[in-house]
Assembly symmetry: C2
């Protein structure tokens, strides 16, 4: 069982039993999600911006427009924090104080760089696309050179990484278990609804199979 | 229609038509979500931490343990960024390049402070609890003085705020509309699954009605 080294910056200090550093568990969380929040600093002001991502081995790829201020800033080698959060459920305790959420989150610290190698960039975009819809890269029109230039891909090596996980039922004060109040977990799931075809879609394109989504 | 003032730091510069500064629209996004990502800086390293929140008028309340490093850091008056993101759908275009997501996000910049007034703190916790499950504050055991002391509530005034919204179908290159590739939007929704009662719950507590959730 391989783990990320714990540093002073990634140690889960509040409720340490929720800390997870095992690589396989961290990878599983990252592979289930698709949206991250990227934190960076410009003139002492932190910014937190949502964006898509995909993991490949020990790298996290995020991508966006080459014109994005965020991506241009990040390529300057500034320190960033990328966080992925999956919310699994509301935890309803008998007391307000012990209400909680079940969740799995990963916090990644480090320095990202723009991917300039054409093959690595294409591979990252392929993974990125197929991470959302299996096989989509193979069926959609692939990027032209110009489109590839207009797209930036950033890579963050997974080095200083920790996860935090809460699972299970509420934990109440012993006396409160005698209260006739509903207590338990309400699981939450991100689900797709009925796909909405584009008005200009050709009929021969058929029907979208939501089983291809990685939800 | 009242709006937040646009500053250099909150202006949506990439794809400006997606920028939203209207207070009513920003409030609606904040009231639909319940999870935010808080960005703050310690020794030049940004951190992005997920946590719950609730809005009340022009304040965003976040809460956590009084022992949390984040909350203690934030009360020092440091600059923070709080971001709320709702993902509404995957946007599948005919070309890989034009794939996108429909989303609504709010970015809030400013300085937070701990709420020390007892009444304001109780009111924030009541709102926080009922924001997740309608009427929960009224039915669960309310906090003791000791529990109240162990809970910190931070308030961030909504001043430097902007939202970014993408809606609607994919926008492809004109030539690509002739391609027989499925294109459209796959809507995404956070949904609750069957509630799981705690093993020690008294039968007289009944059944949980998921209609009380603000999802």
């Amino acid at each position: 069982m391989e783990s990320y080294s714990i540093t002073e910056r990634t140690r889960v200090s509040r409720i340490p039993k929720r800390g997870v550093y095992d690589k396989a568990q961290v990878h599983a969380i990252l592979d289930e999600g698709f949206l991250c929040h990227v934190g960076f600093v410009i003139e002492r002001q932190p910014y937190v911006i949502p964006t898509g991502y995909v993991r490949a081995d020990e790298k996290l790829y995020i991508h966006g427009s080459a014109a994005s201020r965020m991506l241009r800033t990040l390529d300057l080698g500034v320190e960033i924090c990328v966080t992925v959060t999956l919310v699994d459920g509301f935890v309803l305790a008998r007391s307000v104080f012990h209400h909680s959420m079940n969740y799995r989150s990963v916090v990644m610290l480090g320095t990202a760089h723009l991917v300039s190698d054409r093959e690595e960039k294409l591979d990252a975009l392929r993974r990125f696309t197929n991470h959302i819809v299996a096989g989509r890269w193979e069926e959609a029109r692939r990027p032209t050179d110009q489109e590839l230039k207009a797209t930036s891909v950033l890579a963050l090596p997974l080095q200083e990484v920790s996860a935090k996980v809460r699972t299970g039922p509420p934990l109440d004060e012993e006396d409160d278990y005698a209260l006739p109040i509903w207590a338990g977990v309400v699981p939450l799931r991100l689900r797709s609804a009925q796909p909405v075809p584009d008005e200009r879609m050709l009929a021969e394109a058929g029907v979208f199979d939501t089983g291809r989504l990685s939800l």
